[in-house]
């Protein structure tokens, strides 16, 4: 799966780097001074690299934690995200990563100790609970077999009760959750789209039914589970498809195990969108009923409102109001 690995010179002897390298004895390993030398140059093609992405092992020496707006959270007032990984194993056509990053290589920051220290310090700065979102620049669990991220961070968060961790994923392989006693301050947030839409937009993603089974299993083990209905994608039979999705989710999850549901329409900074459209000129999703509003590409205003209201109503017929959080795009 990984044929090429770039390794920052400064972490050549880091035990975690050595351990990852030992799992890919056949990979070609190349040195680099800084991951940005490989990752950042202009003139790369995300689509071509997605065929065979390399792994870059690096140390994050820049900012480790970033704030996110409260409207993107699920009830907390102190919200941060951090990235142990840039890019994703899966290939969702609506994913903003393909517009944001010049390269599709996986960059894994191995200095988890530094992330942990800043998370601990930030948590201790306030009595308010702090939320830490790990699936902003990647899928939190899809590359667990390489990164060992959750295996390391779950025990850490279990000892930090005032800090909440969201693991956001489309993975169906939750082995790592079985190896850990469930605890309260973590949410396993599964992203879902109706099956017919997923088949047109989500490549390399495990099938919907296996992800629903994984969700059911996680809940049965005692983990808190979230649904992330984001991005909402317009399609024919919109209401019927989303209704069926919500019904099958609810069928497989006792409501008391549901921590939160978040809802957000497809939206994208227009610069990212432009790049994505250029990368995939034949993609029907990008020729949808979209418009530019205040620097963002989004569904036409009335359509967006209608689709979000439809989902909101469908959800509120099924779940308590307190569990639903709407991610508002900057323009509504």
């Amino acid at each position: 799966m990984i044929n090429s690995i770039y390794l920052e010179n400064s972490i050549r002897e880091h035990p975690k780097a050595r351990s990852i390298l030992s799992r890919f004895p056949k990979a070609n390993v190349l040195p680099c001074e800084h991951y940005k030398e490989v990752f950042n140059p202009a003139g790369q093609n995300f689509r071509l690299q997605k065929k065979n992405p390399a792994l870059i092992l690096a140390k994050q020496t820049g900012k480790l934690l970033h704030s996110i707006p409260p409207s993107y959270g699920v009830g907390g007032s102190r919200n941060f995200y951090f990235s142990h990984l840039l890019n994703c194993l899966y290939d969702c056509r609506y994913c903003f990563l393909q517009g944001m990053y010049p390269s599709a290589h996986f960059v894994h920051f191995i200095n988890s100790e530094d992330f942990m220290s800043v998370i601990k310090q930030t948590t201790e700065e306030s009595e308010e609970p702090s939320w830490f979102f790990s699936g902003y620049d990647c899928d939190s669990l899809a590359l667990e077999s390489i990164t060992g991220f959750a295996g390391e961070f779950l025990p850490f968060f279990s000892k930090l009760p005032n800090a909440w961790l969201e693991l956001r994923t489309k993975s169906a392989n939750l082995q790592v959750l079985e190896n850990q006693t469930p605890f309260d301050n973590v949410v396993i947030a599964f992203s879902f789209t109706p099956e017919e839409i997923g088949k047109q937009t989500e490549w390399k993603v495990p099938p919907l039914d296996s992800r629903i089974r994984a969700m059911k299993k996680a809940a049965s083990m005692g983990w808190k589970v979230g649904w992330r209905i984001d991005p909402v994608i317009d399609s024919t039979d919109f209401k019927k498809r989303y209704e069926e999705l919500f019904d099958s989710l609810l069928c497989n999850l006792p409501i008391q195990q549901l921590h939160s549901v978040s809802l957000g329409a497809f939206r994208m900074p227009s610069g990212f969108f432009k790049k994505m459209e250029k990368t995939y000129p034949s993609e029907p999703l990008f020729a949808g009923k979209l418009e530019k509003r205040a620097g963002m590409m989004a569904y036409e205003k009335n359509l967006e409102k209608d689709r979000l209201t439809t989902c909101e109503n469908l959800l509120l017929q099924r779940i308590p109001k307190e569990l639903l959080f709407s991610c508002k795009s900057p323009v509504v």
Partner: protein
């Protein structure tokens, strides 16, 4: 596919294998057949830059595959073994290239140093040539980095230093690697095709705008609508037919918008 090769002896097996014809009257030896082109640059940074730039000028289409092929020294690999450059540095330069490796292949990926003169000292896991860095730098001006690659066959190493190298061996080594070279040429060509926009869109765009009356803004809008029509599965020939009698550019844009409006929702 554009192949840039330093020496005639390195190029001969490729010319024969693909049946390339020599073009007369070129400033540099140039061979071609259909979309395969090979130029013989001569040795060194300046010559390879000039040869690459020459091909770029003659065939200016963007995102074509480019391959620099030839022999090189190496600190660890055996003579006759082929490698692909995964990191290209140059003596005296801080600029470093990492050609993204998208082709699945058994060929090892190695670092490569481009030097001003033949190297007699070898470091482990390092290749040595005299062209790759300049080639890469130049070809990347017109092509995405994944499509620009450097393949080298080892001609000398610490056990068989360059002083023992006989130029006629170059052809034999390259010839022995033809199946792998062909794999790279095929894969890179397919990769380039996979990102090539539908050429019919631009042809249609220019046919319509030639009718006159299109401002720059309206031409851009038309181009964007035609791309969307193609993405939505609209038959461009049929679309052109529907637009034959449409009057002004403004009406035409409105007409296409109308045709597409009920196709814009995902099925």
């Amino acid at each position: 596919m554009n192949l840039v090769v330093a020496l005639q002896k390195e190029a001969n097996p490729i010319i024969q294998a693909y049946g390339l014809d020599k073009e007369q009257g070129c400033p540099l030896p140039f061979y071609f057949k259909e979309n395969r082109r090979l130029i013989i640059s001569g040795i060194g940074r300046a010559r390879v830059s000039a040869a690459t730039a020459y091909l770029m000028g003659r065939f200016p289409e963007k995102n074509q595959p480019w391959l620099n092929l030839g022999i090189a020294g190496h600190g660890s690999l055996n003579t006759g073994q082929m490698f692909v450059a995964g990191r290209i540095i140059e003596t005296g330069s801080s600029q470093c290239f990492y050609p993204p490796q998208i082709i699945t292949s058994e060929v090892p990926v190695s670092e490569l140093t481009t030097c001003g003169k033949p190297q007699k000292k070898y470091q482990p896991n390092m290749g040595y040539d005299m062209e790759a860095h300049a080639f890469y730098q130049t070809a990347c001006l017109v092509s995405t980095r994944e499509l620009v690659q450097v393949l080298k066959v080892v001609s000398d190493n610490p056990k068989q230093p360059i002083s023992q190298f006989k130029p006629e061996q170059a052809s034999k080594w390259i010839e022995a690697k033809l199946p792998e070279i062909d794999h790279w040429i095929t894969e890179l060509t397919e990769a380039a095709l996979s990102i090539k926009p539908n050429p019919e869109i631009n042809k249609l765009l220019s046919r319509i705008t030639q009718r006159g009356g299109f401002s720059t803004t309206r031409s851009l809008q038309l181009g964007s609508l035609l791309r969307q029509a193609d993405a939505l599965g609209e038959d461009l020939g049929a679309l052109e037919g529907m637009l034959t009698d449409v009057g002004s550019p403004k009406q035409m844009l409105a007409e296409i918008e109308q045709i597409l409006s009920n196709k814009r929702t995902l099925p």
